[in-house]
């Protein structure tokens, strides 16, 4: 039985424990959530259990290679004379591809009329719409070209490219099958075939070797250089006089203490009271139909209070770690992982905003509830489906690139390995966007905590653990945690 915390009496580095597993689980859950959101959207609104979604992540990861490492891409390498440098025709190709990506994405929203601005929701003269679209396409193309071969440009390129390509799956393949009114199981088989086409299409072009991004991992931060991929250790100590947090960085065996923050019990109590007060006020308000509902307000408020309190009370950076502690634990993470959590939250927040505050979101929710009724109401369900696929493509691109970056290796099975946790997350939470987000985090946490808590379980059992959790939930509630139609 592994104790979640270790008792330290002497000044020794604490072990990673349950808290570390939780944090890693949140990171895993964030990545799964990036993929599962798109999967749930498509599953819910387009009614396609998209087995190819994992391979869409792979597609996004590989597409970024065109910008990030152009000399490793077959055929395109002819236009890249050296690593990280693309010749002028190559830049031209990238520009054209990005522009086509943007225009293609817009085209999917409604055909030629969409290019003239019909999808904006306000009346614009056709030429103005077209001009704006072309200008935006050109701007994004320019950004990609100017940024080559940086990671950001690669991300932008991949997002735009996938936004245009993924809806093609819908318009060319899935729509035809949906019009034949085939049953759900058969759609699953169709998407399985599509998955194989995508995955082995990628392998046909790129071959079987393992790739990795070349990314500048040191970024300037607070006066010094911060390497985003190096592990940082957060040590938590609970001693008799308060809570101590120490941040350390280990480079080549020598650990360097970056900062120590100490919080007395009174300061702790103040923060706690503030959080309780904010939560009570938020939950009591019950304002109708707001974008940020009461629970979200409470959560956000608590986080803000925590952040303010942490910085206000920290007592200076140069404290010392206490000698005798009651409880000590360690979290091992890196700025990259924290960045992934933040990125996932930002993207899901953006999606939440779209779903709640925009007309598009409202139409998506309506179509998800009852398609026939939405049609009766005059909603253009075809456009809704296309936008759902576009969003799924965007999320898949970001998810795939982050996954490739995180594991610093891009293989053909990159996305497929994540497919089962994604499906587990989607099914666990019930097939809806919010359910999928919740389910992904549950799956991520289950994977990491399961590996941590069960002694002797090797890391290859991550996915099986996720599935056991899924199975357990499905036994109790076959529609998933949130689902239930």
């Amino acid at each position: 039985m592994i104790l979640p915390f270790t008792l330290t009496i002497c000044d020794m580095a604490p072990e990673t424990g349950l808290l570390n597993a939780v944090v890693t689980g949140v990171v895993t859950g964030s990545i799964v959530a990036l993929g599962a959101t798109g999967l749930a959207l498509v599953y819910d609104i387009a009614e396609v259990p998209n087995f190819a979604h994992g391979d869409l992540l792979t597609l996004g990861a590989y597409a970024a290679l065109l910008v990030n490492k152009p000399d490793t891409v077959p055929v395109f390498e002819l236009l890249a004379p050296s690593a990280q440098q693309v010749s002028l025709p190559g830049l031209g190709v990238l520009f054209v591809l990005s522009a086509i990506g943007v225009l293609g994405t817009v085209y999917h929203l409604g055909g030629r009329d969409a290019l003239y601005g019909q999808w904006w929701g306000i009346d614009v003269p056709g030429r103005l719409g077209l001009t704006v679209h072309i200008v935006v396409a050109g701007a994004i193309g320019a950004l990609v070209v100017l940024g080559t071969p940086s990671f950001g440009a690669a991300l932008l390129f991949s997002v735009v490219l996938l936004g245009a390509t993924v809806p093609l799956l819908e318009s060319v393949i899935f729509r035809k099958f949906r019009e034949k009114n085939i049953e759900l199981a058969l759609m699953l088989v169709v998407s399985l075939a599509v998955a194989f086409i995508v995955r082995f299409g990628i392998q046909t072009i790129f071959g079987g070797s393992i790739r990795f991004y070349s990314v500048e991992t040191s970024i300037p931060f607070l006066g010094g250089a911060l390497d985003v991929t190096l592990a940082k250790f957060f040590d938590f100590f609970i001693a008799s006089d308060g809570l101590f947090i120490s941040l350390q960085e280990t480079r080549g065996g020598a650990s360097k203490q970056l900062l120590v923050a100490s919080y007395g019990w009174i300061e702790f109590a103040v923060i706690l009271l503030a959080i309780i007060a904010v939560t009570y006020v938020a939950l009591d308000r019950r304002s109708p139909a707001a974008i940020i509902g009461p629970r979200l307000t409470a959560a956000l408020g608590s986080i803000v209070i925590l952040a303010i309190g942490a910085t206000a009370f920290w007592g200076g950076a140069n404290g010392t770690v206490p000698d005798t502690t009651l409880v000590a634990t360690r979290i091992r993470t890196s700025p990259l992982r924290i960045g992934i959590i933040v990125l996932a939250i930002v993207m899901m927040g953006a999606l939440h905003y779209v779903l709640q505050a925009t007309t598009l979101g409202k139409t998506m929710r309506a179509t998800s509830d009852n398609r026939e009724l939405a049609l009766v109401r005059g909603i253009n369900t075809r456009r809704v489906m296309m936008s759902v696929w576009i969003i799924a493509g965007l999320f898949a691109a970001v998810g795939g690139i982050m996954l490739g970056f995180l594991f610093s290796s891009i293989t053909i099975n990159l996305g497929f390995n994540l497919l089962l946790p994604m499906f587990a997350g989607v099914i666990l939470g019930g097939i809806s966007v919010y359910g999928a987000i919740l389910g992904s985090y549950v799956v991520g946490l289950a994977m990491e905590i399961g590996i941590f808590a069960i002694p002797g379980l090797s890391a290859t059992y991550r996915i099986p653990v996720a599935f056991v959790v899924l199975l357990a939930v499905l036994l109790l509630k076959p529609e998933g945690i949130i689902g239930g139609r």
Binding site: P49, K180, E183, A193, I197, R383, I427, I463, P464
Partner: protein, 624 residues
């Protein structure tokens, strides 16, 4: 190595996958349970069988595994191993079903997929179980000792007799089924069929049949059932062959007789199948088949990779375009789309099998070599060449050494298993139990309202299907002589699904067709891939799977019932729905082998089945 040997080894894979697909067919085709984790039971069967026949684990070597019963006389034999693998797979199938059976169909598919991945991970990580990530080797398939066999010993003669029994019995069975099928002129309306007169009583094939069954067609007790006649005829032939080979030593003659017999029956069956096909359709098919061969010529001939890819791809594209044009623009041929493809493929395969191998010696003027190659490919039952074996000198052909090697025996065994399992599954499916299964696939509520508990039937169906998968796994263990966990990836389930849908979900006969088609494709593309430089071979192999995926989509879209249709087509002929509704609610496209129907007519008649307000969807949705 003669082409015949290549075909024998690929037929082994066909039989294994055919059994695997039979299992999946029971689960999905008959009961409607989509099981994406079918490979998990394949894995269980394979590893159980291997662990049974392996010798006890030697702690000093690097292989580690749990049990090895190979030394124990009966327990460690292959018979027990296969049985154990099958039973365990069936039990696990049942256990897996218990928690998952109430789930929606797509949840069920994904959950069972996850379970199969769990099995794979367990094998991979638990090194004490089956050697972990390393290959599990060290056992040999049964009865490998006596081979290669020439018939000079008793054991050799008996084994040869067994092979002859299987070959002769199966061929006679096919001939019997062909002879008893209703004459093709009953349903087709094409004018050319009327031109061919039919003389019912003394058709050549009936004479062949009577001869082949040693006159048993006149014995009513045996002739009542084709299978019985075939088995008796095969048995007699086997005994005769064994005796002849042992006592007189005429191995070559026996081989020639049996092989030629199979070719004759194949020709008769083909002729029957395509009896009412117009000459124009047949010529088109032959032309397309030759065109395919021509399109592939640049691959071995040219050196430059880029150029030959471009030429071949454009030639193939032209071919597809021509086919599309012909079948849509020319009325007389548009009804026979599938048949044209069938004729073309068979022609292509004949060219590849008979003509291509003799091009080499033909080019260098070696007539004897041509004759020898042709002879070797015709007499597929025997293995030619090598040092071991009986030597013959034949006029015009030269000297040959002849023997029967182990793969042929293994093939005979596998085919026998497949036929046996096929018969069992067919009987199960035609029984009242099978009818309940089909009713469950169509509508579970109806079954409940009739007082039957769908749960038990689904459970039984999963157990049977998984057991079949386990059997296939045990056969795989026998064939591969070494197991690695990477073999049992979800890709296998995908291939099995492909085989099932191509052959016809719910149709047991289709499984062998689907498996044969898939592995023929794999074989062909492997040979083609050899003409490319090794550096891009991975890419070519990946491309092969892309093509498979695209073909799968095409089959799913245009032929959701598969090539042979949804049920065994003997009963259902040309009508659309009948009682045998497949999983599709709406469209019925192609039916059985004797004719196709154009899409438009079935489409409109079936629109009534759809939900009424769906019709307004097109009007309300904005058009792009």
């Amino acid at each position: 190595m003669a082409v015949a040997d290549v075909v024998v080894s690929f037929m082994l894979l066909v039989s294994i996958y055919g059994i695997l697909a039979l299992g999946l067919n029971v689960k999905y085709g008959h009961t409607g349970l989509l099981d994406f984790g079918h490979v998990g039971f394949y894995l269980i069967g394979a590893y159980t069988a291997a662990l049974f026949v392996l010798g006890p684990d030697d702690p000093t070597d690097f292989t580690v595994y749990l049990i090895g019963l190979g030394d124990i006389p009966i327990l460690g034999s292959w018979v027990t191993a296969i049985l154990a693998g099958t039973i365990l797979a069936g039990i696990v199938g049942g256990l897996v079903t218990l928690p998952t059976i109430r789930l929606r169909e797509d949840y069920l598919a994904i959950t069972v997929l996850g379970i199969s991945v769990i099995f794979q991970r367990v094998i991979q990580s638990e090194t004490w179980l089956a050697n972990g990530p390393d290959a599990l080797r060290g056992y040999s398939p049964p009865l490998q000792g006596p081979f290669p066999v020439t018939g000079e010993t008793i054991i050799g003669a008996v084994l040869l007799g067994l092979i002859v029994f299987v070959a002769w019995g199966l061929t006679t069975g096919v001939l019997g089924m062909v002879s008893q099928a209703p004459s093709a002129t009953a349903t087709a309306a094409s004018p050319s069929s009327i031109q061919r007169g039919r003389d019912d009583s003394t058709r050549p094939r009936d004479r062949v049949y009577t001869l082949a069954t040693f006159g048993f067609t006149h014995v009513d007790a045996i002739a009542k059932q084709v299978s019985r006649t075939a088995a008796v005829a095969g048995g007699l032939a086997g005994i005769l062959a064994a005796a002849a080979v042992f006592m007189i030593g005429i191995t070559l003659t026996v081989g020639v007789i049996v092989s030629v017999y199979t070719w004759i029956v194949a020709a008769i069956a083909l002729r029957e199948h395509y009896a009412d096909l117009s000459w124009s359709a047949i010529t088109t098919g032959i032309g397309l088949g030759t065109g395919l061969l021509v399109a592939l010529i640049p691959l071995p001939v040219l050196e430059a990779v880029g150029i030959k890819i471009i030429i071949t791809v454009s030639a193939l594209a032209t071919l597809v375009g021509v086919y599309y044009y012909i079948t849509t623009q020319i009325d007389a041929l548009s009804n026979n789309r599938l048949a044209i493809v069938g004729v073309g493929s068979i022609w292509f395969i004949s060219l590849w099998y008979f003509v291509l191998p003799i091009l080499g010696p033909l080019g260098s003027g070696d007539i004897a070599g041509v004759a020898q190659t042709l002879f070797q490919n015709i007499v597929w039952l025997l293995r030619f060449g090598g040092d071991v074996g009986i030597g013959y000198a034949i006029a015009g052909i030269g000297e040959l050494t002849v023997k029967v090697d182990y793969p042929r025996f293994q093939l005979a065994g596998f085919v026998l298993f497949f036929v046996g399992l096929y018969a069992i599954v067919e009987r199960t499916v035609e029984s009242p139990f099978g009818r309940v299964l089909r009713a469950i696939r169509n509508d579970e509520t109806v079954v409940e309202s009739l007082g039957k508990n769908p749960f038990t039937y689904k459970l039984q169906s999963m157990v049977i299907g998984s057991a079949l998968g386990g059997f296939a796994g045990a056969l795989w263990a026998m064939y591969a002589q070494g197991l690695t966990f990477t073999t049992f990836a979800p890709r296998v389930t995908f291939i099995t699904l492909l085989i099932m849908f191509v052959g016809g979900a719910g149709n047991n006969k289709g499984m062998i067709i689907g498996a044969a088609l898939f592995w023929a494709f794999q074989q062909a593309t492997t040979q083609l891939a050899a003409f490319f430089p090794p550096a891009i071979r991975v890419n070519i192999q990946a491309f092969r799977l892309v093509v498979v995926g695209i073909l799968f989509l095409i089959v799913l879209y245009y032929l959701p019932e598969g090539l042979l249709g949804s049920r065994t087509s003997a009963a259902t002929t040309t009508t659309t729905d009948g009682d045998s509704s497949g999983p599709q609610r709406a469209q019925r496209t192609e039916m059985n082998s004797s004719g196709e129907h154009s899409d438009s007519t079935t489409n409109t008649s079936v629109d009534n089945d759809r939900i009424p307000d769906m019709g307004t969807q097109r009007e309300l949705e904005g058009e792009e």
